[in-house]
């Protein structure tokens, strides 16, 4: 999966480093329910295990999120994708890209990895049917060259799911 939307390889700025270390400590003290951070020595790429919430379509299913942080996090949003296989969901493409406004246009530096995770889980939980977005094939075809979802012009048309 290392080829999937390789983010810029610029090292984290000092501010980004401090902020992420703080987030990591907070995560360890108080991890969001349903998530497990896989421990690595790489502060710039977090792999997070997601467990579908009980009583939802994804109950007991486990998926993995890959979070890559840019040099100027949190002034810039992280790149968040599902590692394959990605959950079947009307806002999640088969290449793992997620159509969720807070990851792109609506990002704010007040958000954290933890708050992103909760948003993604709530997006999963509120789904009423397991299916791919209607434009899945076209979109995935367009991303063949390893394009990052952050380069997509997203059009957030539906906020029910």
């Amino acid at each position: 999966m290392s080829s999937s939307g390789a983010p810029s390889h610029k090292a984290l700025s000092k501010i980004a480093c401090k902020r992420l270390q703080k987030e990591l400590v907070e995560w360890q003290m108080n991890p969001p329910t349903g998530f497990k951070h896989k421990v690595t020595d790489n502060l710039q790429r977090w792999i997070i295990e997601v467990i579908g919430a009980p009583g939802t379509l994804y109950a007991n299913e486990t998926y993995q999120l890959q979070v890559d942080f840019p040099e100027h996090y949190p002034m810039e949003s992280p790149q968040v994708i599902f590692l394959l296989p990605a959950p079947l969901h009307p806002h999640i493409y088969s290449n793992g890209h997620i159509c969720l406004d807070i990851l792109y246009d609506s990002w704010s530096p007040a958000m954290t990895v933890s708050s992103i995770c909760i948003s993604i889980l709530s997006m999963l939980s509120s789904s009423t049917e397991k299916q791919r977005p209607t434009d899945n094939d076209r979109y995935v075809q367009n991303c063949k060259n390893g394009r990052s979802p952050k380069e997509t012009r997203w059009w957030f048309h539906d906020d029910k799911v």
């Binding site: 700025s13 000092k14 501010i15 002034m75 810039e76 704010s108 530096p109 007040a110």
Partner: protein
């Protein structure tokens, strides 16, 4: 008629001469590698090459060619404390210059390691990007005194020549006395910082955080006016954020945008103080 012909011939000879000059320079740049070329004057008499030394520090070598090159050697300039004397014959080529420059860089590695060590471990005054050519570092030694250290580039790890300056003669003299008394404690085995602190018997100021400058670790100075939000910010950070998004508006020196937490309107005055003050 004769007159015109001879002018024409002279012009052709001139052109042929300069075209062979261009061809020669072109092929010699090719030998060095186009990827190393940084600047190139239109008439190919001025250009610069980029080169990395053993520690990965980037250097730029500027070359100026005379029209009768290669009969006269190129003149060189670079950010180095002293230039090497170029060995040159009419059969020499630009790659030979680069080769000799690389060797010169090799010989200066220890000198730059000492300077890098100083820049990293101590608070260096008025030097955002200190020159690689200068063997002098002005180091902050508390409020009362600056140390002007002169590194010997032939023996960079040896005891540097130091001058002490400051507004308070007694404090400065005091430090100078300690320095003189203890300078034999200088050891080539220790880092510059360790040596200095050991000799002066005091802890020296460390370099400021490079991103926030003097304001690193300072308290927040702006609070969201929405009472139920009430989040605090450094106006510097909030300004950075507001400037990075397209929905922010500016009127005179005030930025209007939304609080990153509660999205209520915020208005921050742009602080003109330099980030790295």
């Amino acid at each position: 008629m004769m007159m015109e012909e001879s002018i024409e011939r002279a012009r052709c000879e001139e052109l042929a001469k300069s075209s062979s000059f261009y061809r020669k320079v072109y092929s010699e740049i090719e030998e060095v590698g186009w990827e190393s070329l940084r600047r190139l004057g239109g008439d190919l008499t001025f250009f610069s090459f980029h080169i990395l030394d053993k520690k990965g520090r980037a250097h730029i070598l500027e070359l100026q060619l005379d029209r009768d090159y290669p009969n006269s050697p190129p003149s060189l300039s670079a950010d180095v404390p002293y230039m090497f004397s170029l060995e040159w014959s009419t059969s020499s080529r630009l790659k030979d210059v680069m080769h000799q420059f690389q060797k010169h860089l090799d010989s200066l590695q220890e000198f730059w390691s000492v300077l890098d060590d100083i820049d990293k471990s101590l608070s260096v005054v008025d030097a955002k990007q200190p020159s690689r050519a200068s063997p002098i570092r002005r180091i902050l030694a508390g409020k009362e005194c600056n140390i002007i250290a002169h590194i010997n580039f032939n023996d960079p790890k040896s005891l540097p020549e130091c001058r002490f300056i400051g507004p308070e003669p007694t404090a400065v003299n005091n430090l100078l006395m300690i320095w003189r008394r203890n300078s034999k404690k200088w050891s080539k085995e220790k880092s510059f910082l360790e040596n200095l602190e050991c000799i002066l018997g005091t802890e020296l100021p460390k370099p400021p955080d490079e991103e926030l400058g003097a304001r690193s670790g300072t308290r927040t100075d702006y609070t969201c006016e929405n009472i139920s939000c009430n989040k605090s910010f450094h106006s510097l950070c909030l300004t950075d954020w507001l400037r990075s998004i397209t929905t922010t508006r500016q009127s005179f020196d005030v930025l209007f945008g939304n609080c990153p937490y509660c999205s209520d309107p915020v208005a921050v005055k742009i602080n003109n103080m330099n980030k790295l003050d």
